[in-house]
């Protein structure tokens, strides 16, 4: 330290003889950090290492770095989400304040209305409760049923939901159009038709159709629909591929 000056005290405002311009001897911030001890040193090393790894990865990869990779969560994303949330909360409050409350008569368990049905989108599940004729009577049990018809109906729900849950694992294809995978397209058509027919079975007491015929149709129609759509999709595929190829070769004519 230079002490030519009489005043040797270093002042807190940065003036005074103790303040010198940094030279080669002055440690950099990085060096200061590296000299620290304990937790602060550990933190520094951790961040420095991860930064370094990050940098290496970026340099190795072919990824083109852009100025903006995404919008920051705050404020962009949060403001947008909050405004959307407020809109819908406001709609709920508005509707609940303006619409008259729907207070229906209390359900009377000692009478049942003649037409009693769940909401239409639950008809398929309601129809599954009426699968009694499919419940096998096992000869090993002396003609007894393994489970009651009502248990059977509930288990059928699990089977259907289970199948729908399994399909994405069975077919991991990347097809975007049914023609590209006729089989799975046909399975989908069959599923949709079954949803419709099982819903029709749910209201069998209201349909002017023989109930046994309806029961048969419920299970045969999906199979027929599956077969037809498979055939149609399969035969469509050729034309579809031809169309695709034609466009392709128009763009890039063969040499």
């Amino acid at each position: 330290m230079a002490d030519d000056n009489e005043n040797t005290e270093t002042r807190t405002d940065g003036s005074g003889p103790g303040i010198v311009a940094p030279d080669d001897e002055v440690p950099t911030w990085r060096e200061r950090k590296e000299r620290t001890q304990g937790l602060s040193r550990l933190t520094y090393e951790y961040f420095e290492r991860s930064r370094r790894e990050d940098q290496d990865l970026r340099q190795e990869s072919s990824y083109v770095e852009r100025d903006v990779l995404g919008f920051p969560t705050w404020p962009h994303e949060l403001i947008r989400n909050l405004s959307l949330t407020s809109f819908f909360v406001g709609m709920i409050l508005f509707l609940s304040a303006t619409l008259p409350p729907e207070m229906m008569a209390v359900a009377d368990p000692s009478t049942t209305p003649e037409i009693i049905l769940p909401d239409w989108y639950l008809y398929w599940s309601f129809g599954l409760l009426k699968l009694g004729p499919l419940n096998p009577e096992l000869s090993i049990l002396g003609g007894e049923k393994l489970m009651a018809d009502r248990t059977y109906g509930v288990v059928a729900n699990i089977v259907v939901v289970g199948f729908i849950a399994i399909v994405p694992f069975l077919n991991k294809g990347s097809a975007r159009r049914p023609v590209e995978q006729p089989f799975w397209g046909a399975v989908g058509v069959g599923g949709v038709v079954f949803a419709i027919t099982i819903s029709a079975l749910a209201i069998k007491n209201l349909l002017p159709l023989d109930t046994h015929l309806l029961f048969d149709i419920t299970f045969l129609a999906p199979i027929v629909a599956t077969l037809i759509s498979y055939a149609v999709l399969k035969s469509m595929r050729e034309g579809y591929m031809f169309d695709l190829n034609r466009r392709y070769y128009r763009l890039r004519p063969p040499k």
Partner: protein, 287 residues
């Protein structure tokens, strides 16, 4: 150099203390949850359920697991009442248990018990409690099905059922099924001055067929009188209230002369009384 020097964070008294607090809290939580689970699993939710053999009208079609239980009736001064089994208190394993049953009902070799009706929530109805302050006479339902037009015209809801109201039973008919099978009434039992949720729905039928069958069958001879037969009108499938000659839809299931449930199309034959076995639900304990 200590062995675990490179451990982070370093072992310290404070850290041991925090570990102890967290660990004991977790242990206490597991213990409390376990105790609550064991408690709720072993708690006595009620008494008086179990395997039960009941006389019931036969379930002939549909998903219902068994028939609907019959209620034995008696006629007293031209009024009809459903018999309530004998109430006895017995000492069992140091506890006083109320048993509502009549063994060898009127010499028919059938044990009639209130457990017959312990399904579908009926077990918690006030009228089914042995000590219920209810009389056993059937009373006309205040909301009979529209096809029981005679009930709205000739009698009023809440009145006691009179034998004289059924004099035309041999040729009574309505728009559903064939006539002359018998005359039905939607009645309630042990349900006076209770809300709808506690009203026991019963169908009472007076029929020539019952009269004929009662001459050959001990149980029917004991449980019916002058052709009157009553059953608890609660579908054993999912607890709807079916009806005999109440629904136009029934003919689609060949059930226009049977008891038909509109929910899942269960069909019962009211003139075929059979023995059924099922597991009665326990009567919930008083809180």
């Amino acid at each position: 150099m200590p062995e675990d020097e490179d451990k982070y964070p370093v072992e310290s008294d404070r850290r041991r203390f925090v570990k102890g607090v967290v660990g004991s809290a977790a242990l206490a939580g597991v213990g409390t949850t376990g105790a609550a689970a064991v408690n709720s699993a072993t708690e006595q939710s009620g008494a008086g359920g179990g395997a039960t053999t009941a006389m019931a009208i036969e379930n002939t079609d549909g998903p219902a697991p068994r028939g609907m239980p019959q209620i034995p009736i008696e006629i007293e001064d031209g009024e009809i009442k459903g018999v309530w089994p004998e109430v006895t208190e017995i000492e069992q394993q140091g506890q006083t248990v109320t048993i509502t049953q009549t063994k060898n009902y009127k010499g028919s070799d059938v044990t009639y018990s209130s457990r017959w009706f312990q399904y579908c929530g009926v077990q918690s109805y006030t009228g089914l409690k042995p000590e219920a302050d209810q009389e056993n006479f059937f009373r006309y339902s205040s909301s009979p099905p529209p096809t029981y037009g005679w009930q709205t015209e000739d009698v009023s809801g809440g009145d006691r059922v009179q034998v004289s109201d059924f004099e035309d039973y041999e040729n009574w008919e309505n728009s559903i099924g064939s006539g002359g099978l018998g005359k039905p009434a939607a009645v309630t039992w042990r349900s006076q001055d209770v809300d709808n949720a506690n009203t026991i729905p019963v169908t009472l039928i007076r029929s020539k067929r019952i009269e004929e069958k009662a001459q050959e069958n001990d149980w029917l001879a004991a449980s019916t009188d002058k052709g009157f037969m009553a059953y608890l009108n609660k579908c054993t499938h999912f607890c709807c209230v079916p009806g005999w000659k109440t629904s136009e839809q029934a003919s689609q299931f060949n059930a226009e002369d049977d008891v038909y449930c509109p929910c899942h199309q269960s069909v019962y034959d009211p003139f075929e009384i059979v023995e059924t076995t099922f597991t009665a639900l326990p009567v919930p304990a008083e809180d």
